[in-house]
Amino acid sequence: MNFRHSMTWLHTWSGLLLGWLLYLMFVTGTTGYFDVEITRWMQPEIPVQSEQFDTNTLIPKAEQRLREVAPKAEEYFIELPQGRYPYFMIWWHNPDTIDEAGWHSEILDPNTGVPITARETAGGEFLYRLHYVLHYIPKALAYWLTSLAAMFMLVALVTGVVIHRRIFKDFFTFRRTKKQTSWLDMHNLFGVLPIPFYLMITYSGLILLMFSTMLPIPASTFGLNPEKFKQMYNTVFTEAAHRDAAGIAADSIPLLDFYQRTQTENKDAVIVHIAVENPGDKHALVEIGIQPKTGLDNADTTRYQATNGEAYPAASHYSDGSAPMAFYETMEKLHEGLFAGPLLRWLYFLSGLMGAAMVATGTIFWAVKRRYAHDKAGIESRGLRLVEGLNVGIVVGLPIAIAAYFFANRLLPAALESRAEWEAHSLFLVWFIALIHPFVRRANASLSSVWTEQLSVAALIYALIPLLNMMTSDYHLIKALRHGDWVLAGFDLFMLLAAFCFACAVYRVNKNNKIDETAATVNPTNEVRV
């Protein structure tokens, strides 16, 4: 067996084994590029975007609210409206010593400055976290599993390139009518075009979890002494020039002054946040965050002493003087794509969906190829039936389950205890049904009718989401469009697009079936490649 053959074998099996987990990671990770938009849709109590914000009146209102609600906070900040999330938000971090420890947030009504009481939801963050924390299992285990899947993905990418000697020729090959080979051609199309994206997203994903999966390496240098390791970890990750609280209360200058001052000093600055460290303390610092000029730069921040308005040195990052850390941070930014503007964000989204499509078409091709050989030889294999059934339940079942998650968001009672968790349970419950459906149905139905059934359900459920939105909130698609609220309208429009794509898939499956039936009677053998 030569090198290329071994690589083909490795690609086929490693791809299948972790393909389904990778599909989940691609789909849910991709939703992460629109996590705040999804959360916004899942909190319909938030009014549609208003035309103009009176920032000058809203900043004092936000500051006043923070003083009321977060008197003990170690740090708080105001997030100013931006393209992706055009709302005023306040965040505060309470010390671990009090009951309401950790981060808290509120959305302020852009017109009145009064906090909006929105329903409890797991939001877009749940879908995004699903791609590396998974669910129902310990975090550490999830990190190892997803890292393993990413490692397989890396191997599948390298072997995929190796086995495609004719990579460019294959890329331009699409045999629409030959069922089996057209699956392979599609797999190649989705697999080759975004290869730089896949390599970046896979490698950076691995690196982001390296402090869970590659701990022997620091141990090889620092020994098994946890203190030395912790010290190294804190050095590279913590911002330097942090200022400790003095423990003496002191009055501070209103935040609006700092905002206006930054605006006069720097006319082009887009101010994204105003943060206060140790609010109410003599050593309180005000930090003004300015959108960086180029995407991958760290956010520009200017810091002032809150009590007298004097400038204070900006926080320094370890990465300023360390190439390895700068590389790490660049990979992190590339992976998360937080810097991406609307166009690039959609490109990220599209690349992620293509990744999901690549994995899906790969696993489908795996099954179709074996089905063909088995049928020809007259073998019936349980393993193959299992793969075929799981392919449907995962490739179509997961999108159905995600739609069910959005339904649960609107249909579960607002006062339900641990509502956010029930939204998540709804997703898994529906997915479970979608996973067993193929096996129940195949007792007396063909595989293609199982595909058709789930694809039809997917088309229907996605088409119903804008309707659901209309019935369960005051802001339907037309109204959102009229107000120019593209976050809200975009969500509903994308649901309709998804429904359309699933409907097209139903049409294709039906049509292919007819072709197959005719082809089977005319020409019982087809040329098989690979």
Partner: protein, 90 residues
């Protein structure tokens, strides 16, 4: 294409377990050898370790026999551990 089940099981173990060990030992040596601060050297080694892992996996399946796959990985682990020990303890 057929492979004997023994060979497959053995190569898979070599790839996953052996590959992880080799990725680490190579990274140990790299971390010890890099002429920079300890923290930076560790960051380089950790970030490159997945590349070593990928090479090890490819090797496990590309080697002529499963035995050779294991020999190659064990040899690499041994040599890199010696380099690491020499640099750290020597």
């Amino acid at each position: 294409m057929r492979r004997s089940p023994d060979s497959i099981a053995s190569r898979t173990a070599a790839a996953i377990v052996g590959g992880y060990i080799v990725a680490n030992t190579v990274a140990f040596a790299v971390a010890a050898a890099m002429p920079m601060s300890e923290a930076d050297a560790v960051l380089v080694a950790m970030q490159a370790s997945y590349l070593f892992y990928a090479f090890a996996v490819l090797w496990a399946f590309a080697a002529k026999t499963a035995r050779r796959a294991w020999t190659g990985l064990s040899g690499t682990a041994l040599v890199t551990l010696l380099i690491w020990a020499g640099l750290r303890l020597g």
